[in-house]
């Protein structure tokens, strides 16, 4: 396995030496991700209702022409 190259390691080494690593506030990021996940979950619930309605309405939609 030692023969396998990790191209990302080489690339990161270069970016570090050029001081191109962006510092992040991990706590703030975790909060942001949680807030987005909560909104996505809420949307998922709403969407389930739409999808159920779609199926109900599709049962009546006869396509014959």
């Amino acid at each position: 396995m030692d023969l396998l190259i990790d191209p990302i390691e080489e690339l990161l080494k270069r970016y570090r030496s050029e001081d191109k690593i962006i510092e992040i506030d991990q706590e703030a990021r975790d909060r942001e991700i949680k807030a987005i996940n909560d909104e996505l979950a809420e949307f998922g619930l709403k969407q389930r209702a739409y999808f159920n309605k779609s199926v109900e309405s599709a049962r009546k939609a006869y396509l014959t022409f």
């Binding site: 949307f43 199926v55 049962r59």
Partner: protein, 494 residues
């Protein structure tokens, strides 16, 4: 004995008339759509190779399961017409050099069934054969043998409805399955009798009185798809439909009007002039979603005409989203609207378009990894073009594109799922050059949470799942991904 004729398209109607006479098809029997309107849509310089009798697998299935059990006589045999872009000769079928010429000129074929209604049957005809082909659409490579010579063409499968064994719903399912069956080894084309067995109904299914949308969805699920069904009151209904079309996924549209319902397959969109797109962008960027002065314009809001496979009209009809039957003369179709659409998703695509769209929006507007706070491109708008593709196709495109070498390295080393959602990000001037400045890649096999975001890249910022740190990356612009929909750019091949 197989008889054949090679004639310019202007003379093909005589052969069609002979076939109709032989099968006692009278002019008054013709439904409002027949082979004549089909031929009128084709280029006038085409040449035809007609052969009879031809055994067509789809018609034979309808024949044995339905037409043969009637008192009236129906022939088992069809007439097939192959189309070529210019003059062909009998000698071309006898030499290797001639065979190559035939392949170069071959555009596809249509089958005429010995039926009084809807006699144009299984048709595989390249958009290049039609007078109007200014659009982009899904195509599949189809093999056939004409006059003993193996030929291939690139087309989207089409058939007209015979109104008894196949109505619009069955035709749409058949087209879609024929497309997938020819395109992917794990799929199989289906016959009309397979479709009738694929949904459950307490009453008889033949003679067909059409299907409900739920039955269409059930049939597609039985054929192995993870079917999604959208209703017109779903948020972003039109935009989501366009996401799937941009992804190269044929979608069955459920149309409804006062007089009834109809099904067609949407397979692409028109190719708009750049100046028209520029005008639309200018107008929309004045009033789209604005968060902290960032305006996000989704290209699914560009009102391009849809390319439709409609079994009442020749293939590749263009129609606006709000007037999907605008090409009908029959007034009973004039009020038809798209009320539903059914998407035959691969069963491993779990993140559907609505959730992907919302994730793109949240990411772009994030206060931590959003465009406004991280992008070095200080423009007050961003143009987003979203689509689904496979991880392998995207890697292949990225490595052969003009992307920055470091970006290629990162994408090549990424653990890509089988399917990904991609949002290409750009600004007006760059977008109009067909180029992107940023990317968001989501795992389409993932859930509706931020773990599914695998790469966020803006000018000056890159966060990727295979990088432990975010990096300041200036990768420049890159040519946008075009593999999903074919057109002049791919010379109508795939």
């Amino acid at each position: 004995m197989i008889r054949h004729a090679i004639v310019p398209i202007s003379q093909i109607i005589q052969i069609v008339k002979d076939f109709e006479q032989q099968n006692e098809i009278r002019p008054t029997d013709r439904s409002f759509f027949g082979v004549r309107s089909f031929i009128n849509d084709l280029r006038a310089d085409l040449w035809c190779y007609a052969d009879f009798p031809y055994v067509d697998k789809v018609y034979r299935d309808s024949y044995y399961f339905y037409f043969a059990s009637k008192l009236d006589n129906f022939s088992r045999d069809c007439l097939r017409i192959g189309f070529f872009s210019s003059e062909i000769k009998d000698e071309d079928f006898r030499t290797k050099a001639g065979n190559l010429i035939l392949q170069e000129k071959f555009l596809g074929y249509t089958i005429l069934r010995p039926l009084r209604k809807g006699n144009p049957g299984r048709t595989m005809l390249s958009p290049k054969a039609f007078k109007n082909h200014k659009f982009l659409c899904e195509l599949v490579c189809v093999d056939t043998s004409i006059g003993g010579v193996k030929l291939k063409t690139f087309a989207f499968p089409w058939t007209s409805q015979d109104t008894e064994s196949m109505t619009c719903a069955e035709s749409s399912i058949w087209s879609l399955m024929e497309y997938y069956g020819n395109k992917y080894p794990e799929r199989t084309p289906v016959l009309p009798s397979d479709i009738h067995k694929a949904f459950e109904r307490p009453t008889r299914v033949i003679p067909s009185e059409g299907l409900t949308l739920a039955e269409i969805a059930t049939a597609l699920s039985r054929f192995g798809f993870g079917t999604c069904l959208y209703n017109h009151d779903t948020i972003d209904f039109e935009s989501l439909l366009r996401y799937y079309i941009e992804s190269g996924i044929p979608v069955i549209l459920g149309l409804e009007g006062i007089n009834g319902g109809h099904a067609v397959v949407a397979i692409g969109h028109e190719e708009m002039e750049l100046s028209a797109i520029e005008n639309i962008l200018n107008t929309h960027l004045m009033g789209t979603v604005s968060v902290d002065n960032l305006q996000i314009f989704d290209t699914s809001n560009i009102p391009r005409c849809l390319v439709q496979i409609d079994d009442n009209h020749p293939p590749y009809r263009l129609a606006e989203f709000n007037h999907p039957c605008s090409y009908y003369v029959d007034s009973s179709f004039s009020d038809m609207q798209i009320k539903h659409f059914v998407v035959p998703l691969h069963k491993r695509i779990y993140l559907e378009a609505g959730k992907a769209k919302l994730m793109f929006k949240h990411i772009l507007n994030s206060s931590d990894f959003g465009w406004k706070c991280r992008s070095k491109q200080k423009c007050n708008h961003v143009i987003q073009r979203a689509f689904l593709t496979t991880g392998n196709s995207y890697k292949h495109y990225a490595l052969s594109s003009d992307m920055d070498e470091d970006l290629k390295t990162i994408i090549q080393a990424m653990d890509m799922p089988r399917f990904i959602w991609v949002a290409e990000l750009s600004i007006m001037d760059i977008y109009l050059q067909g180029r992107g400045l940023g990317l968001i890649i989501l795992d389409a096999t993932g859930s509706e949470e931020m773990n599914s975001a695998k790469m966020i890249f803006y000018p000056g910022f890159l966060k990727a799942v295979n990088l432990p740190d975010d990096i300041e990356a200036n990768f420049g612009s890159f040519a946008t991904y075009r593999n999903n929909l074919k057109g002049d750019w791919s010379q109508w091949t795939c």
